[in-house]
């Protein structure tokens, strides 16, 4: 390990580190524009100059490898003069339009100009003018401001895996753009806005909405997919204005998907802000008391077996605990959280978790994807797979759709036949998997939400066992969920009890008139027409499919409007905080259920959040408190006959990445994105 001295402080750094990293380890801050620890090194902004003894001139520390006995100075008159010079050059062509720039207040250039800029310009000539680029509905460009750090280019090429941005032209004429104008086709493109150190790339939907110092920041958890990305919710007054990623190395590093970031404008549209009830076939506004009374009237005298509940994909753990308890109190075992009908075996926790963990992907050395398109189902997780693939020697096999996943893979087949080939050893890819030390098998919901789902699940487990993916030290069986609520629901047993009905049974029961009352907790993704003549209570936040069918609507809170708990696909328990209050009369969901329970004569035992959480901990004992990751202790697989496979091809459950949930479906931005994907030319021509 090389040792060097930075401003008199001795540091020891790993070999191959750069001088900039060494300076950081010594606690010295080095200004930078192009360097970013998650991107390749470009060394083109020169802001990070430091002085190195025995070197004839200042060096760009970000691109300079350390060597033993170096003596580095980060704060000498030479260094300061050099950085001032760089800053002056950077500002020559920069429009200095901070007052009308959205980056103002959180701009690296602005901040560093405070340290190294002059109070006036010596440049009297014309500045260059660059045409703004059209990059689609999410990113607004103002290319005069670009300082050519190429972070965005490197992000698109390396992390997002869509090499569409480039630096064309040269010298004075260099421009960042796509050359042939088109919208970026990445699900992660919003991260470029965060990366851009200046205001060249800013958020289009958020343009001129607020200044950063006006915002209140709240830590939250993204509920638009099952990755559980850590987010920062920025709000002003009653409204969430934007969502940004928070750093969590184990989950989302510092990225979030475009859906997580940009569906916020759906939060103010199509909201259910008061209770409604159906009268004479028409919905009319009602009071909470009326709504509860209507439910109680319908429920009175009903046997538990005629009542059912389905939990939706964004529900928080607390509300599902309350609903589960309410149903139990009403004597009903007809509850299910798998509104897509996935055949999940919840008898053991590692049957339904992403056991290798997301960070663990980087330890894996081979992967098999079954019936999943992680790019659409879990965009941020997909970027980990790509990161691992870029590092080399990571053979990937795909059974399912042969989509562009941003990394190379071997397509083994469309459907279960390829799985059978792996089971009976006739597929050559089996050897690749067997040769791997830490192989991963990733099963998507598309492979499970079908009649032979249980068989696919068992087959996938068998493959994992056969290739040695299950050991004390490594758990290579992974289920990739698409719903933020799912793992938590499975953990607390939001599943049919006794001889209760599951999702299919509930729907069939409604059709046949065996189930009379259905409580939908934000469940919008079921075929509503199959609910027959059942009395539907819809508890949720958006006027989506469920609300349309409902007989009583109980307005709830969206994921940013409540203190809630979500477990991501790894089984990681994370809590988000309330950023704003739910609109109008809407309430936090567990509280609604608690209030309803009193009217229904089945009063729940808790009446505060701590109480619900204690109840959750009791229900999920051994699951909610289990550590994330770890090896596989028991090789015995899920129930299901791995031979009973059907023949039809696997399809990803996510057809339209941008509109998988009621918030996304209400969001004009997401609609614009979906339209762009459908017809890229049309938008580029605008």
């Amino acid at each position: 390990m090389p040792k060097l001295t930075v401003d008199g402080i001795e540091v020891e750094v790993p070999p191959g580190a750069t001088v900039l990293q060494a300076c950081e380890m010594a606690g010295k801050e080095i200004p930078r524009f192009c360097y970013h620890e998650r991107l390749s090194i470009a060394g083109n902004c020169r802001m990070c100059l430091v002085e190195l003894e025995k070197a004839p001139k200042p060096i760009a520390s970000c691109a300079y490898p350390v060597a033993d006995n170096m003596v580095v100075h980060t704060d000498t008159p030479t260094v300061r003069a050099a950085r001032r010079g760089v800053m002056e050059f950077l500002l020559i062509n920069h429009p200095l339009d901070c007052p009308i720039c959205d980056q103002g207040g959180e701009c690296d250039l602005q901040d560093q100009a405070m340290g190294y800029g002059f109070d006036h310009s010596r440049y009297a000539e014309n500045k260059r003018a660059v045409k703004d680029k059209e990059l689609g509905p999410l990113i607004k460009t103002s290319m005069n401001r670009c300082i050519h750090c190429t972070r965005c280019v490197r992000f698109a090429t390396e992390v997002a895996g869509v090499p569409e941005l480039g630096a064309t032209g040269r010298g004075e004429q260099m421009e960042i753009g796509t050359y042939v104008e088109h919208a970026l086709t990445s699900e992660l493109s919003g991260n470029m806005i965060d990366l851009c150190p200046v205001g060249a790339l800013t958020s289009k939907p958020y343009a001129f909405v607020a200044r950063p110092w006006e915002l209140v920041r709240t830590d939250g958890i993204d509920a638009t997919d099952a990755v559980g990305s850590n987010i920062r919710i920025d709000s002003r007054g009653p409204q969430v204005l934007r969502i940004l990623p928070r750093l969590n190395e184990a989950v989302n590093e510092e990225w979030i998907s475009d859906k997580a970031r940009f569906s916020v404008d759906g939060l103010t549209r199509r909201r259910l802000d008061r209770p409604w009830m159906r009268e004479g076939g028409k919905l009319r506004p009602a009071s909470w008391a009326e709504a509860f009374a209507a439910i109680a009237a319908r429920a009175s005298g009903l046997g538990g077996d005629r009542i059912a509940a389905l939990a939706g994909d964004m529900a928080d753990l607390e509300s599902m605990v309350a609903l589960r308890d309410l149903m139990a109190a009403l004597g009903s075992g007809n509850i299910d959280c798998r509104q897509d009908g996935a055949r999940i075996d919840a008898s053991r926790r590692d049957f339904y978790l992403f056991n290798s963990t997301i960070a663990g992907i980087e330890r894996a050395d081979a992967a098999l994807l079954i019936g999943t398109n992680p790019r659409r189902e879990a965009a941020v997780l997909n970027s980990r797979l790509r990161k691992r693939w870029l590092a080399g020697r990571f053979p990937i096999g795909v059974i399912g759709e042969a989509a562009d996943l941003t990394y190379g893979y071997e397509h083994l087949g469309d459907g279960p036949a390829a799985l059978t080939a792996l089971l009976d050893g006739s597929a050559a890819f089996l050897e690749t998997l067997k040769a791997a030390k830490h192989p991963m098998v990733i099963v998507g919901q598309g492979a499970l939400a079908r009649p032979d789902g249980a068989a696919v699940l068992a087959a996938a487990w068998t493959v994992a066992r056969e290739i040695g993916a299950l050991s004390e030290e490594w758990h290579g069986f992974n289920m990739l969920h698409t719903a933020a609520a799912r793992v938590g629901a499975l953990d607390i047993g939001f599943l049919p009890h006794g001889d209760g009905r599951g999702r299919d049974g509930i729907l069939a029961g409604c059709e046949q008139g065996d189930v009379d009352l259905v409580w939908l907790l934000g469940a919008d993704e079921i075929p509503m027409e199959r609910l027959g003549r059942a009395f539907v209570v819809y508890q949720g936040h958006h006027g989506d499919a469920g609300a349309k069918r409902a007989d009583v609507i109980l307005p709830g809170a969206a994921y940013v409007e409540k203190d809630g708990t979500w477990l991501n696909t790894e089984g990681r328990l994370q809590q988000g905080f309330r950023a704003v209050f739910p609109p109008g009369e809407a309430k936090e969901d567990w509280a609604i259920i608690r209030a309803a329970s009193a009217v229904l004569g089945a009063t729940l035992s808790y009446n505060d959040l701590a109480g619900v959480r204690a109840r959750a901990a009791a229900l999920g004992a051994g699951r909610l408190d289990a550590p994330v990751g770890g090896g596989c202790a028991d090789l015995g697989g899920p129930s299901g006959d791995p031979r009973a496979l059907a023949t039809d091809a696997f399809a990803s459950p996510v057809r339209d990445f941008y509109r998988t949930d009621p918030i996304g479906r209400a969001s004009p931005t997401m609609a614009a994105c979906a339209a762009t994907v459908a017809a890229p030319e049309a938008v580029a021509a605008e």
């Binding site: 660059v130 045409k131 090499p163 569409e164 040269r170 796509t178 050359y179 042939v180």
Partner: protein, 233 residues
């Protein structure tokens, strides 16, 4: 200022399709074979040049439409944007149509001092005074000012196709352009008839043949002294 299109945006008027001809493909394979396996992208500049030349054969204009860049990207397995970056970086790749003869006039200081203004004016006149970078109405000429062509000794210099025309003045330029227009191939090189870049009016030094110096090989290395038997005499 003329309304010059940014080199950073694609020219949209090109052909929709482009593919290497059999002959070009063979040349391209040679280029690609120069680089080790996995580094084929290094051949991108060679292939782009081939593409421009094929365009010249097919259309009379040596330029690089987007379809050609995409074709090269496909052959080399590169993302198209990486090819656009290369093509737009080097000024020798013309990403917009040029005339049958693209006149590149050097106007850097040495050429300018030696009268490149007259050369440029003659070229512009021949092109019907259309703005630089656009093609004359008859499709014959397009004009572009370029930086030093590295032939300053023979300034001013005009570069057409694969040839340099040197030591020009207005009239010499006009003669060359007329010949080009007639489809002839005027002789490249100095318009003043000098031999390459040798002094005007003949040599000024080394005028006589220096006296013949016969080639003398190095004297043979001295033989190692033979032991003398009678040394002890």
């Amino acid at each position: 200022m003329t309304d010059r299109a940014s080199p950073a945006a694609a020219y949209e008027g090109g052909p929709d399709n482009f593919a290497f001809s059999e002959a070009t493909r063979k040349l391209a394979e040679k280029q690609i074979a120069k680089y080790p396996e996995g580094k084929q992208a290094s051949a991108v500049k060679g292939l782009l040049d081939l593409a421009m030349r094929q365009m010249e054969d097919e259309t009379g204009s040596r330029w690089l439409p987007r379809a050609a860049m995409d074709h090269v990207a496909g052959i080399l397995g590169m993302a198209p944007i990486r090819v656009y970056e290369v093509a737009s970086f080097y000024t020798m790749f013309k990403t917009r149509p040029v005339g049958r003869h693209h006149l590149q006039v050097c106007t850097t200081t040495p050429c300018w001092l030696r009268g490149s203004d007259a050369v440029l004016a003659a070229c512009r006149r021949a092109a019907g005074n259309v703005p630089d970078g656009t093609v004359s109405e008859d499709g014959e000429f397009s004009v572009e000012e370029v930086e030093c062509l590295g032939a300053c000794v023979n300034a001013p210099v005009l570069w057409v196709g694969d040839y340099f025309y040197e030591d020009l003045d207005g009239q010499a330029t006009e003669r060359i352009l007329e010949a080009l227009k007639r489809g002839e191939h005027p002789a490249p090189g100095s318009a003043k008839g000098r031999q390459t870049s040798a002094p005007e009016g003949g040599p000024t030094t080394l005028k006589e043949v220096p006296p013949h110096q016969p080639y003398r090989p190095d004297p043979p290395a001295p033989e190692p002294a033979a032991p003398q038997a009678d040394a002890g005499e």
